[in-house]
């Protein structure tokens, strides 16, 4: 799961707008593969966190109704360009990834 997170964060007037895109199937476990006819097992991200300056600025809990290749955007204040932020996720199978990036 290397490099599953793409991150864009920009600060303007002290407010950071963070956008991230995660490469993940977000399978509900409720549908069949059209080709093989087999049920596709559930595989979805359950928790996403964003940390800035040692603090958690956002904690998200997701169900399988978040779309494939999830997109998430949020905003927080007290940020400036050059600050680093960290995004992490964990899915229902225990897979996880995180990425540290800089605010532009």
């Amino acid at each position: 799961m290397a490099k599953s997170i793409k991150l864009r964060a920009k600060a303007k007037d002290g407010v950071a707008t963070v956008k991230c895109l995660i490469s993940h199937p977000m399978e509900t476990g409720l549908r069949k593969d059209k080709k093989s006819g087999k049920m596709i097992p559930a595989e979805f991200i359950q928790e996403v966190t964003c940390e800035h300056g040692g603090k958690t600025v956002l904690g998200a809990e997701w169900g399988s109704a978040i779309s494939k290749n999830p997109f998430l955007s949020f905003k927080f204040s007290g940020a400036k360009s050059g600050d680093s932020i960290k995004i992490s996720w964990v899915d229902n199978k225990g897979a996880s990834d995180s990425l540290e990036g800089k605010i532009k």
């Binding site: 958690t56 978040i66 204040s77 225990g94």
Partner: protein, 156 residues
């Protein structure tokens, strides 16, 4: 506030320490799953889902919450939703799709410096109200909007 803290802590734990422990093979995935609000996400009706996610299903309609969603979804598998809470002291947010088998799509806990704003994309099985619920000062406020899901299928 307490609820907020709890989710926040849970969030950072799961993705931080627990996440690392899982990747290092120290913990089984089960330990991580325990943190996630299973009941809320598996609830079949909006009230139960809300009770699980926000501690109550008692919401007051508010026009201070802006819910941006298309009138007609191009594709029910990917419906862009943006919620902006204009209510001071917003600590949490949940986004639900009333007619989905399990209505709760996601819940968010905001840090003290985080704005009451979330933009994401959700799956919709059929035409339904999308409901945004916000918690501020321990109270719940909500707004809703109908999104039509048509069956596409044309276009190769």
């Amino acid at each position: 506030m307490n609820q907020n803290r709890r989710v926040l802590l849970k969030g950072s734990l799961a993705a931080g320490a627990v996440g690392a422990a899982v990747s290092a093979g120290l913990l089984t995935p089960k330990a991580v799953m325990a943190a996630w609000s299973k009941e809320a996400f598996e609830a079949k009706d909006t009230n139960a889902a809300l009770a699980g996610a926000m501690g109550s299903s008692d919401t007051t309609a508010s026009d201070k919450i802006k819910l941006k969603a298309p009138d007609i979804a191009e594709n029910g598998a990917v419906v862009p939703i943006t919620v902006t809470s204009g209510i001071d002291g917003t600590t949490n947010m949940s986004i639900l799709v009333a007619n989905n088998n399990t209505p709760l799509t996601s819940s968010y806990a905001f840090g003290p410096d985080t704005e009451g704003y979330i933009s994401t994309r959700v799956k919709m099985g059929k035409t339904s109200d999308v409901i945004a619920v916000v918690k501020a000062g321990g109270k719940l406020y909500s707004t809703r909007k109908e999104v039509k899901v048509t069956i596409g299928g044309c276009g190769g």
